[in-house]
């Protein structure tokens, strides 16, 4: 099999190709302190005029050594560390860690807990996508959408606060289930929120896709070839914007996703607009999943019986979930002790960012902002 590449796609000509102007290659540091890098990411851009010849992402500014820290903590103590990896989707991080420990130790999670997990995971996805939508629009100059998205998200964060006391670093999903049941009336307040949210999503969507400037900044920009994307291990909406319909929730189902009815949105254009459309539709699908899960949620216990001193048997296991950013995996090795022997965090943003140089080559610096925004990275997730 030949290696897939992004060569044949449209590119801007360099000043020399276009006007015969002699220019020199210039190195430009974008970040680590730059509002549109969404955190502390440094992009070393090789430019000629306005045209990007190559990009070299420099990461690690937010590296906290979480995998090493985990080896010094008990299984229960590791959980708060996971919140701080992808801090916009802490529920997914809790979920994947607990899932790995449960798989390794063979813990049966009660059914009600599974349903609650699905609800909070999908609400987390909506909250994360709202931040993405707002900041992506802001990157392209649409200030009002940013304010609307954060207004909507505020309601969601209050719902999270009600269920677990925290607005971002939840530690709500625990090994064996969830620690507290949903408060009285919470399910109805979630339904009310979804009723409120969906028309506003359409409104925001119309503000952007009905805007000529937004379309010209995203349509056909930063096209990612589907075969190249898979070869790079790109996942989540960034992959599905290029065509492949790989979604862990359907292809390697966990919790109770196999009992719920939802679509996997995808686009075949592979450009920034395609990735945008996938995420917007995903929010609608998440709302659909949340409604079903709330309706189907059975009564019963929410926590499995756990020993006071927890020692999973020796062994190793890999598990994955679909975080808002893509495939989030954990490789967990136990030696039979009270602490994880090795905990490896497979972060979706890490794999997704890797493909950036391939899709910014030949585009202008302003397009780099759009393309980077459309990949939706979280630096805490990348650097760990």
């Amino acid at each position: 099999m030949d290696q897939p590449s992004n060569q044949a796609l449209h590119r801007h000509p360099t000043p020399e190709q276009e006007h015969g102007l002699k220019t020199e290659e210039l190195l430009l540091n974008m970040g680590p302190q730059h509002p549109s890098t969404h955190g502390v990411l440094r992009l070393i851009l090789h430019i000629e005029g306005e045209v990007v010849l190559d990009a070299d992402p420099d990461i690690g500014y937010l590296h906290r050594g979480m995998e090493k820290l985990a080896e010094r903590r008990t299984y229960a103590q590791v959980l708060p560390l996971t919140d701080r990896n992808d801090y916009l989707a802490a529920m997914s991080n809790n979920q994947v860690y607990c899932q790995a420990v449960e798989k390794l130790a063979g813990i049966e999670v009660p059914e009600r807990a599974h349903f609650i997990r699905v609800v909070v995971n999908e609400l987390g996805r909506i909250a994360s996508h709202l931040v993405w939508l707002g900041t992506f629009a802001l990157d392209l100059g649409a200030m009002s959408v940013f304010l609307y998205c954060f207004r909507e998200r505020e309601v969601l964060l209050s719902l999270f606060e009600e269920i677990c006391g925290a607005r971002m670093t939840y530690s709500y999903i625990r090994v064996g289930g969830v620690p507290w049941d949903v408060p009285d009336g919470w399910a109805d307040r979630v339904r009310q929120f979804l009723d409120y949210l969906l028309p506003r999503l359409d409104e925001n969507d119309a503000l952007l896709t009905g805007n000529e400037v937004f379309l010209s900044r995203t349509q056909g920009v930063g096209v990612l070839d589907p075969r190249l994307a898979i070869n790079y291990g790109v996942s989540g909406p960034s992959l599905r914007g290029s065509g492949p319909q790989f979604d862990v929730r359907r292809d390697d189902p966990y919790a109770v996703y196999d009992r719920l009815d939802f679509d996997i949105p995808y686009q075949t254009t592979g450009d920034c607009l395609g990735r945008y459309l996938v995420r917007v539709e995903e929010m609608r699908q998440s709302a659909r999943i949340v409604r079903q899960a709330l309706d189907l949620m059975p009564e019963g216990p929410i926590m499995a019986k756990m020993p006071r001193v927890f020692r999973p048997p020796a062994g190793e296991v890999y598990t994955r979930v679909e975080s808002p950013r893509g495939l989030l995996g954990v490789y967990l090795v136990s030696d039979g002790g009270t602490n994880p022997f090795r905990l490896k965090w497979r972060a979706p943003s890490f794999a997704n960012l890797q493909v950036l140089p391939e899709i910014v080559r030949g585009w202008k610096i302003a397009d780099v902002v759009a393309i980077l925004g459309s990949i939706d990275i979280v630096l805490g997730d990348i650097d760990r």
Binding site: M1, I230, N231, D251, Y318, L327, G329, K344, R346, D383
Partner: protein, 145 residues
């Protein structure tokens, strides 16, 4: 499904497979380190493991291990391939030419565990600064403040 998979790989590489276990549904095969590249090419081209999921470096305290976890978007199945490397010369071929996405993952294993990947296009530290001494995910690593 996993048994079939194991049989196919064993038939193709009778001398390379050292062990095969089922890790809660994921087939984990341990192969000879010098056979990594041919095995990886085979599982990508013939068994459709097109998606490089995860590369994990493990210090067992006795030796270093590298585990390549792969996913097939065609068959919706996963596979882990493990190589075991000696402490004094932890070197193995890079699989970047098979999956481009292995690039950063291998750099991370090099950075944090000190495994050297032969023919890697860009083997530099990735999370830690170039001036950093040692490889922190090794069990012997001593923290300095």
């Amino acid at each position: 499904m996993n048994q079939e998979l194991e049989q196919t790989i064993r038939q193709q590489f009778p001398d390379a497979v050292l062990a095969a276990t089922d890790c809660k549904g994921t087939l984990l095969i341990t192969i000879k380190a010098d056979q990594l590249l041919p095995v990886c090419r085979f599982v990508r081209d013939s068994l459709e493991f097109d998606f490089p999921d995860c590369v994990t470096g493990i210090d067992t305290g006795k030796e270093l291990e590298v585990v390549y976890t792969l996913w097939s978007t065609v068959r919706d199945n996963d596979l882990s391939i493990k190589v075991v490397l000696p402490y004094d010369a932890p070197e193995v071929d890079s699989v970047t030419e098979v999956w481009k996405g292995a690039n950063w993952h291998e750099r991370e294993v090099y950075d944090l565990l000190g495994v050297r990947f032969r023919n890697h296009p860009d083997l530099r530290r990735i999370l830690l600064p170039e001036s950093f001494q040692g490889h922190p995910l090794r069990k012997e690593y001593q923290e300095t403040d």
